[in-house]
């Protein structure tokens, strides 16, 4: 029997939630520091939102991220020490011009130009965040190749209603903004149900 087929019941108490928030804060701090060094920008550090959400709520969480504006999204799987998840980076479409100037991208902003930007930014943001969390938990995460879920899609079309093998996921949501520029993107870190149990164990170890 696979882990996902078992009825894993996961829960999250206040203490654990705070701990995840703190973990993410530290990781984000490192990520922001890196971005500052590489791009010479000041990243506004938000307070990450940590929630257990139902599969059916994921769509809503994404739609919530940006009402009904067209968006582009990149996802990337990661796995390490039996803890698996996906990072989902959602871009508001209006951000591309500012992204281009931020990344010193001089090419034309057509579909391919935007794809380059999506990939470059997601490599930086996702990589830095995953690595930061991994370092604190002493987990080496392997990362798969990023996949572009869609360019200029309605938020609802990004996630195809599939037969999700999970009912609940731990979602850490980070809303990135960068000072003085119109950049608006959401990073969602989603962990599988069985990973949450393992993660909680790690966290409890930190809390003790």
């Amino acid at each position: 029997m696979t882990a996902s087929a078992q009825a894993v019941s996961v829960s999250l108490n206040e203490e654990q939630r705070d701990c995840y928030q703190e973990l993410t804060n530290v990781a984000m701090g490192q990520a922001a520091d890196r971005l500052a060094r590489l791009l010479d920008v000041y990243v506004v550090l938000p307070i990450p939102k940590v929630n257990l959400i139902e599969a059916s709520d994921l769509r809503m969480a994404i739609q919530d991220a940006e009402t009904d504006k067209a968006m582009s999204a990149v996802c990337q799987g990661f796995i390490g020490s039996g803890i698996a998840g996906e990072a989902l980076l959602l871009f508001n479409d209006t951000s591309f011009n500012d992204l281009a100037s931020l990344m010193n991208y001089s090419g034309e902003l057509d579909r391919y130009g935007e794809l380059e930007l999506l990939m470059d930014v997601s490599s930086l943001l996702i990589g830095a965040c995953i690595q930061g969390i991994g370092e604190q938990l002493e987990i080496h995460f392997n990362q798969g190749h990023p996949v572009v879920l869609g360019q200029h899609c309605k938020p609802g079309d990004l996630l195809k209603a599939g037969n999700h093998q999970w009912t609940q996921t731990l979602a850490i949501e980070i809303h990135y903004t960068i000072e003085h520029v119109n950049i608006d993107c959401d990073l969602l870190l989603l962990f599988t149900e069985d990973s949450v149990v393992r993660l909680n164990n790690k966290i409890n170890y930190l809390l003790d």
Partner: protein
């Protein structure tokens, strides 16, 4: 695994794995000079590790754009973070042949790459490793799926006999235009037309001749369309045109050109004894049409009027046109 744990014998078989693993491994130093070049890279490039060692990546492989690659690689050195490229961005980093040169359908190997930092003992990153994955099959099957989707949607909107749009597609476009017209001051017009005495042609010369006539008219029509005109085979021998930003006078010019085109139609497959002609009905959008259907009906009435008046002519819809009059 730390260095102390590895015996000399172990290094031997570790190297063996490195050589034989079916993934490209390239280690680069801070100046992008090649420090390691595994068996995969040797086989596909035809360059031995001895030949590549110490050589500059960009000098040896002119297909790799320096600026582009450095944008991906510099963060790896500076931030110790991994970066990735996918084939959708650039089909390949190194121009290698398809791994299946005979049955494979792509001529090149599509590649995804990961660029990972390699820490030295003092934890600084002076080397990076580029890992090359062959994703040709994924890329080819995705291209297949896309072209299948395209041809499916093409098929859904095409009339198979004439290659023009089909009625369903045209009606939905017409409906959209109808809605747009209600908010717009620019006029748009419909032209409905059919071939005079088409039944007689079918009867006297056979359906194949009739079909050929339809195809021939469709081909000529396609030559005289503007970019924004949308035309379809509406039914049997009837065609419909949606002319955006066109009033009834301009539509009449268009209609007359069609009439002349059809009466001058030269096609060796068609009988020469009986001349072919069309009748056309024109209706401009009017605000008092409650439904898109009413606009279409107006054009239909005008067409009926043209037929009643002897055919081989166009007629512009007047509200007093009712079937059976004149």
């Amino acid at each position: 695994m730390t260095d102390a744990n590895i015996e000399l014998g172990d290094i031997h078989w570790l190297m063996d794995i490195l050589q034989n693993i079916d993934v490209g491994l390239v280690v680069l130093d801070r100046d992008y000079n090649i420090q390691l070049w595994n068996g995969f890279m040797e086989s596909h490039s035809g360059l031995s590790p001895q030949k590549t060692r110490g050589e500059n990546l960009f000098e040896l492989f002119s297909e790799i754009p320096r600026d582009w690659f450095m944008k991906k690689a510099e963060p790896v050195f500076q931030l110790k973070t991994r970066t990735f490229t996918i084939w959708e961005q650039r089909p390949y980093l190194f121009r290698f042949k398809n791994y299946r040169p005979i049955t494979g359908r792509a001529s090149v190997m599509y590649q995804n790459t990961s660029i990972i930092p390699l820490e030295s003992i003092d934890r600084s990153v002076n080397h990076i490793c580029v890992i090359i994955y062959d994703v040709t099959d994924t890329a080819v099957s995705q291209a297949d799926a896309e072209s299948a989707r395209e041809s499916l949607s093409e098929r859904n909107r095409t009339d198979l006999l004439t290659g023009l749009n089909n009625r369903n597609f045209w009606l939905s476009e017409m409906e959209r235009e109808f809605n747009r017209c209600q908010r717009s001051v620019l006029p748009s017009s419909l032209v409905l037309f059919d071939i005079d005495g088409f039944r007689r042609i079918n009867l006297n010369h056979g359906h194949q001749t009739g079909d050929q006539l339809l195809r021939s008219i469709a081909a000529s029509l396609q030559q005289m369309l503007r970019q924004t005109d949308i035309i379809c085979r509406y039914s049997g021998e009837m065609f419909a045109a949606l002319l955006v930003d066109t009033d009834e006078e301009e539509a009449a010019v268009f209609a007359e050109r069609i009439r002349v085109m059809v009466s001058n139609l030269q096609d060796s497959h068609l009988p020469t004894d009986s001349p072919v002609s069309v009748s056309l009905g024109i209706a401009r959008f009017q605000n008092d049409f409650p439904l898109a259907q009413d606009w279409l009906q107006a054009a239909d009435k005008a067409l009926y009027h043209a037929k009643q008046s002897g055919g081989n002519q166009y007629s512009i819809y007047q509200p007093e046109h009712t079937p059976g009059q004149d």
